[in-house]
Structures are given as structure tokens and as C-alpha cells.
């Protein structure tokens, strides 16, 4: 019996019959595929309270002529690169630190990870209060030191950076976690061999830890960059794109169109954002993974 059954299994290349996938497939289809296709359709319509009307590419033309869209795109890029870069650097350093022999290592690891568990909107509101230029704890503390703190969220040049820093504070825990897993996975033999050769701690980091952390780095960059590019909740909770349009990102521009009742236009914006993120991430992902294979 078994001898006849085995080849059949190999032919279907799966251990399970196809209908096993049906429930998950149905859920995925209804909740993801159908809305995605629908949003592509609505992107080509003028859709508001009075109904839908097919208008071709007009929404896209209108969206690209949005005066504050360009700034929003630049801001999105700055935000994505800044948060992603800081998460890589800080996450790596924290991971190396938290895998070394230190007191209260487990506790410190939880402390670093804790902000990741807190609601983004809650974090946003808390930091909005902390960063208030007059009453906020941060500027009050600076005032005690004799420093006049800036308007973290009200200075047009600073607002976006301030939000990005809060994003890093909140998200660095996840990056650290991924790096810790990466560091722990490095076989101890490498370090033992290096020790025999008389390598210093810095040489260990530079020539063993860093190169072998490349897969972890790729994961952190991909995750944080995607997160940064489509970031919305924290920005909306803290500045609503303000003052004026100075901290608007693509996602908040889209949300404002939605709020104004321009549903077709905001669908078009979402399609643009989708294509934008895909256009940036697919090559990046491919490049990062290919290097990994070459090694």
C-alpha cells in the first residue's frame, strides 16, 4: 500500500488535499483580494455621497496636481529613511549590548521591547503632551538646565523629525528583538576561534557579528522601511500633518481626501501609495536577498 501511495503524494507535491486551503483562501479572498480589486476600480471613479461615476484617470491627474502632494512625498521618503536608518543602528547596538553579559539583561530586554506593545495613538497623544512647547515635560526639563527647548511639534522645520524620533522610540524594540535573535544564532565556535587568534571585542563585532547579521539587517530594513513609508497613525495622532502641511506624508494626504468626502480620489491616492511602496521595496528586497545568497 505505502509503495503505491508515495508516488501519488509526490505528484501532487503537497501533503494535504487542496480543499484544506479553502477556508483560509476564502477569508483571504473576501478580506484582501476583493477589497484590493474594488479599490483599484473605485480609483477610477468620482465616488462621494451622491454615488459613483467612472471618470478614467482624472483622479490620478488630480491627485498628482495636489499642491502639497510633492512635499508629502518628500516627507514620506525622509520619514521612511530616517526611522529605518535609526532603527537599524540603534537596534544593532542595543542587541549587541543586550546579548553581552550584563546585569538584569532580561529586564532590560523587556524594557526596550515594551513601547512596541503600546497603542500607537496612545504613544502619540502622550508625546504630544510631553513635547508641548510651553507646558511639556521635555521643554520644562530643558528649561531647568537653562536651555530654551524648541517647539518640537509646532516648528515647521522640526515637526516631522520629532514624530520620526517618537516612531523610532516605539519601533526600536522590534528591531532589537530581530537583531538579538540574529546575534544569538551566531555559533559560539566563531568567537572561540577568534579568541584563540587573540581578536579584540571590536574585531569580534566588526568581522564576526556584523557580517553574520546581514539577514537580520535585511529583515529590519525591509520591515521598518515599509512601515515608515506607509506610516500614518503616529503622524495623525501627533500633528495631523501640521503645522499647515509641513509634516504631511502621502498617507495623511490620502486620509484628508477621504475626510473631505472625496472617496474616489483617496482610493486613487492609495493605489499610488501601493505602487510607490512596491516600486521601492521589491528591488530593495531582491537586492538584499541576493547578496545574502552570494555570501
Amino acid at each position: 500500500m505505502t509503495t503505491t501511495a508515495l508516488p501519488r503524494l509526490r505528484k501532487s507535491r503537497s501533503h494535504y488535499p487542496l480543499w484544506f486551503y479553502l477556508p483560509a483562501g476564502a477569508v483571504y479572498g473576501v478580506l484582501f483580494i476583493v477589497p484590493t480589486i474594488a479599490s483599484f476600480y473605485f480609483a477610477f471613479t468620482r465616488w462621494n455621497m451622491s454615488g459613483t461615476e467612472f471618470i478614467g484617470f482624472e483622479n490620478f491627474a488630480l491627485f498628482f496636481s495636489e499642491p502639497y502632494l510633492f512635499q508629502g512625498m518628500v516627507n514620506t521618503f525622509i520619514y521612511g529613511v530616517l526611522t529605518s536608518g535609526l532603527k537599524v543602528v540603534l537596534g544593532l547596538l542595543l542587541a549587541v549590548f543586550l546579548t553581552s553579559q550584563i546585569i538584569a539583561r532580561g529586564y532590560l530586554r523587556s524594557v526596550i521591547f515594551f513601547p512596541t506593545l503600546v497603542s500607537t495613538v496612545g504613544v502619540g497623544i502622550t508625546f504630544t503632551v510631553l513635547m508641548d512647547p510651553e507646558e511639556g515635560l521635555i521643554n520644562r526639563a530643558l528649561a531647568v538646565l537653562g536651555v530654551a527647548g524648541p517647539g518640537w511639534l509646532t516648528d515647521p522645520d522640526l515637526a516631522l523629525i520629532s514624530v520620526a524620533l517618537v516612531d523610532v522610540w516605539k519601533g526600536v524594540g522590534l528591531a532589537t528583538l530581530i537583531y538579538i535573535a540574529g546575534v544569538v544564532a551566531i555559533p559560539q565556535e566563531f568567537f572561540e576561534a577568534a579568541k584563540v587568534d587573540g581578536a579584540s571585542a571590536y574585531q569580534n563585532l566588526r568581522h564576526i557579528t556584523l557580517p553574520l547579521l546581514r539577514p537580520a539587517t535585511a529583515t529590519v530594513i525591509v520591515l521598518s522601511l515599509i512601515g515608515g513609508l506607509r506610516s500614518f497613525d503616529l503622524i495623525w495622532a501627533m500633528t495631523q500633518g501640521g503645522p499647515g502641511f509641513t509634516s504631511d506624508v502621502v498617507a495623511s494626504v490620502i486620509f484628508k481626501q477621504y475626510q473631505a468626502g472625496f472617496w474616489g480620489l483617496s482610493s486613487a491616492g492609495n493605489v499610488v501609495l501601493f505602487l510607490l511602496v512596491a516600486a521601492l521595496m521589491v528591488p530593495l528586497y531582491w537586492k538584499l536577498n541576493r547578496k545574502e545568497v552570494e555570501q
Partner: protein
């Protein structure tokens, strides 16, 4: 977008507003299950007081329970109202702005036409114009006539011997005098979270002066023939805001101050002028009742001292969505609101800040000074409606644009041109001719 004010800037309130906005799906049952009448209202103190007074009086006379459900104000609130109407999830009745914001709700498809109801007979024609679409009428007024102008601190004016200005130059001279005296910020602006809408007053409250210079402005603007950037009288509102900001007349914390904090600063004399709607008086009375007597009000001044008139807003109204299954109780409540009993209930439960729009309703003799000053504009006939009651076109980004002008990020010329672009988008969405 303008006459909706957040009640209080607490973290909890902001969290609720945000959560509601982000979730986008109302979770209310739509009401009626327990026999109570459910009404969705904005979370401003003004609306809350008036609606609570009406609800209490109605329950007392009929025994029908009325439940008020709160939503945030501003564009967040517009979003909720639109989404809930569209998904058929609106309670039995809801309170919302009249004028252009109502037009954006596609009332012919979502709301019940009330024009054949007998209780509409006593609603004044002025108000009916604000809730009319075609031949249909959609709303019953709640509250009083509202003026958009400058609330000012009487004590500061008395101390410095200043006169109420009737021209823009006189206003700026007053600002300079207040600045020179050195104790008070001449003009309060509040661009903090959820308060950006307050920045629009210089532009929207200037409509009387625009109409004085360009009588056909509203029609030409709606028809895409006149624009803010190419109509000097209309661009003046943006320029005024820029002048005030460049003159160093703003309070130092304008970027983070919220609407309620701004009102408190005005009442405390930390600021002398606050361009605002007179609905703010209700807000002040609720938090610091004594402070109302320290405030005065004048219209935003233009160029002609002899023709210094006021831009007025209609109050919001109660609307009956088509999705309400049992309309009888809702109609009955609307009939109560549109009656002298309704006004008397409002007078008893909330501060009276202007005349009613129901025939036969009277306001008490004893009103605060700012309300008396508001009344003089109505008595002398020097009033004109705000643009949003003359044209269905109002761009959604005006508040961000005026924040940028007031913060010195964008010049007035640039802002007027940018707002014209914003307006164009709205007009196209409404499918108007000529855009």
C-alpha cells in the same frame, strides 16, 4: 467646518475622537430598540447645552427618553457623519451644520424632505435658505444666530482708552497700542491640535466686506468666474492674517494653544482680540460664567467705516436621515424643536447668544455685552451671510492653509491661489457647471 468646536482638549477626548475617526465605522445600533430617541450631536459645549435642554424638556412633557450621542467636531466629525449616513448607520436624528456642509451630504439621497411638514411654517425664511436644496427643506434650527467677528477683552480696551475699530487700519492701530502697552498679546490665534479650524476666521468672517466691494462675488465664485487670488477684496482676508502675524501681534504660544485655552486667555486678559464665532460665548459661559460679562464683540473691520457690517452664520440644524425606520417619534421631536416651547427650553437651559430662527420666539432682555453688540448689527441691518451659506463650494484644506499664513510658512498671495485650487476640487466633486 467652522461652527463645530471640540468640547475640551483632554487626552481622553482626543483619543476618543481619533479612535472614532480611525475606526471609521460607527458601532451604534442606530437606536430605537428601547423606545428612546437617539440623536448624534457634536461634542461642543454649545451644542451639548442646547440639545440637553431640548431633550430634558421633551422628556418631561412626553415621557419619551432622548439619548444624545457625541461625535468629534471639525473634519473628523464631517467624516463620521458622511460615513454613517452612507452606511445607513445614523441614529434617528443628527445635528449638523447648515449651508455648504449640508450640501456636501447629498441631502436629496440621504435626508428626509421636511418642506411639507406643518412645523416648518414657523421657521424663518433666512434659515430655510441655509437648509434648502432645490425645493426641499431638510433641517430644523437649533440655537441662535451667530456672528463671526472679533471677541475682545473690555477691560483691556477701557484701560488703554481704545475705541471699537470700524476700519482695518483702526484695528491695526489698536493692535499696535496694545502691543506697546506690553502686557497683553493683541491678537490670539490657536493652531494647537484639533483647533486649526479657528484660523479661518480672518478669511471667512470677512465676507461682509467682500460683498460690500463685490456684490456679485458669491455667484461669480460659485460659477468659477471669480476667485480669491484675482479678487482683491476676497484676498484681503488672507492678507489681514499675514499682516497681523508679521506685525508681531500674535500670542507667543499660538502654534500650540487650543481653542478652549485661547478663550481662557481672552477671558483672563492675556490676549485682547480673538477672531471667533459668537458661539464661543456659550463655551466661555460653561467654563467661567463670570467672564462673559468682560467680553465685547465687533465685526471684522474692512475699508469703509460707514459700512462696517457683520458676517453671520446660521446655527446648525437637526436632520432626519432616510435610514430612520420609525420616523414618527423623530418627526414629533422636530416639531417640538420648531416651536416656541422649543426656544423656551433652549433659553432656560443654555445661554442665549443671539436671536432665534423660529417665529414667535423671544430672547430675554438681560444679555451679556457681547450679545448686545451682536444684536446692534442685526437691528441696523448691517449683516451678510458667510460665503458657505451663499455657495455650496468650500474647500476642505482652508484651515491648513490659514494656519500656514498665520505661522509665516506661506504668503497671503500664495495661500489665496492655493485655496482656489482646493475649492476647484470640491466644486468638481459636487459636479457644478463651469469647473
Amino acid at each position: 467646518m467652522l461652527s463645530t468646536q471640540p468640547l475640551r482638549r483632554t487626552a481622553a477626548g482626543a483619543a476618543a475622537a481619533l479612535a472614532a475617526g480611525l475606526a471609521l465605522t460607527g458601532c451604534s445600533t442606530g437606536g430605537g430598540d428601547d423606545g428612546a430617541l437617539n440623536i448624534l450631536i457634536d461634542n461642543s459645549e454649545a451644542t451639548g447645552q442646547l440639545m440637553q435642554a431640548l431633550a430634558d424638556a421633551y422628556t418631561e412633557s412626553t415621557g419619551v427618553e432622548v439619548e444624545l450621542e457625541l461625535r468629534p467636531g471639525g473634519s473628523e466629525g464631517d467624516n463620521i457623519v458622511k460615513t454613517r449616513l452612507q452606511t445607513g448607520d445614523m441614529p434617528d436624528l443628527f445635528f449638523y451644520n447648515s449651508g455648504s456642509l449640508l450640501q456636501a451630504l447629498a441631502p436629496d439621497q440621504t435626508l428626509v424632505d421636511l418642506s411639507s411638514e406643518s412645523y416648518m411654517d414657523v421657521v424663518t425664511d433666512t434659515f430655510k435658505d441655509g437648509v434648502r436644496a432645490g425645493d426641499a427643506l431638510y433641517g430644523v434650527p437649533v440655537g441662535h444666530a451667530v456672528g463671526g467677528g472679533v471677541l475682545y477683552n473690555l477691560a483691556v480696551y477701557e484701560e488703554l482708552g481704545l475705541e471699537v475699530p470700524t476700519t482695518w487700519d483702526a484695528f491695526m492701530a489698536n493692535n499696535q497700542a496694545i502691543l506697546d502697552a506690553g502686557e497683553t498679546a493683541p491678537v490670539i490665534q490657536t493652531y494647537g491640535t484639533e483647533s486649526a479650524w479657528t484660523s479661518q476666521l480672518f478669511v471667512l468672517g470677512d465676507n461682509y466686506n467682500v460683498l460690500a466691494a463685490e456684490p456679485d462675488w458669491a455667484e461669480e465664485y460659485t460659477g468659477n468666474e471669480a476667485h480669491f487670488a484675482d479678487t482683491p477684496a476676497a484676498a484681503a482676508g488672507f492678507e489681514h492674517l499675514q499682516e497681523v502675524a508679521e506685525g508681531g501681534f500674535l500670542n507667543s504660544d499660538y502654534a500650540s494653544l487650543t481653542y478652549n485655552e485661547g478663550l481662557a486667555a481672552l477671558a483672563a486678559g492675556e490676549g485682547a482680540h480673538y477672531p471667533m464665532l459668537t458661539t464661543a460665548l456659550t463655551e466661555i459661559e460653561a467654563t467661567t460664567p463670570d467672564a462673559v460679562d468682560d467680553l465685547g464683540f465687533f465685526a471684522l473691520p474692512g475699508t469703509d467705516a460707514a459700512n462696517a457690517g457683520l458676517t453671520t452664520w446660521l446655527p446648525g440644524a437637526l436632520y432626519l436621515p432616510q435610514s430612520t425606520e420609525d420616523q414618527g417619534p423623530a418627526q414629533d421631536f422636530l416639531a417640538f424643536v420648531a416651536s416656541t416651547e422649543g426656544c423656551d427650553a433652549q433659553t432656560a437651559g443654555a445661554s442665549v447668544i443671539g436671536p432665534y430662527f423660529i417665529e414667535g420666539c423671544t430672547v430675554p432682555e438681560d444679555v451679556p455685552p457681547a450679545v448686545a453688540q451682536l444684536q446692534t448689527y442685526f437691528d441696523s441691518g448691517l449683516t451678510a451671510p458667510a460665503l458657505e451659506f451663499l455657495s455650496p463650494v468650500k474647500g476642505p484644506a482652508l484651515e491648513q492653509i490659514t494656519v500656514e499664513v498665520g505661522s509665516g510658512i506661506r504668503t497671503a498671495d500664495d495661500a489665496a491661489a492655493l485655496y482656489d485650487e482646493d475649492v476647484k476640487k470640491q466644486a468638481q466633486q459636487l459636479g457644478l457647471e463651469g469647473w
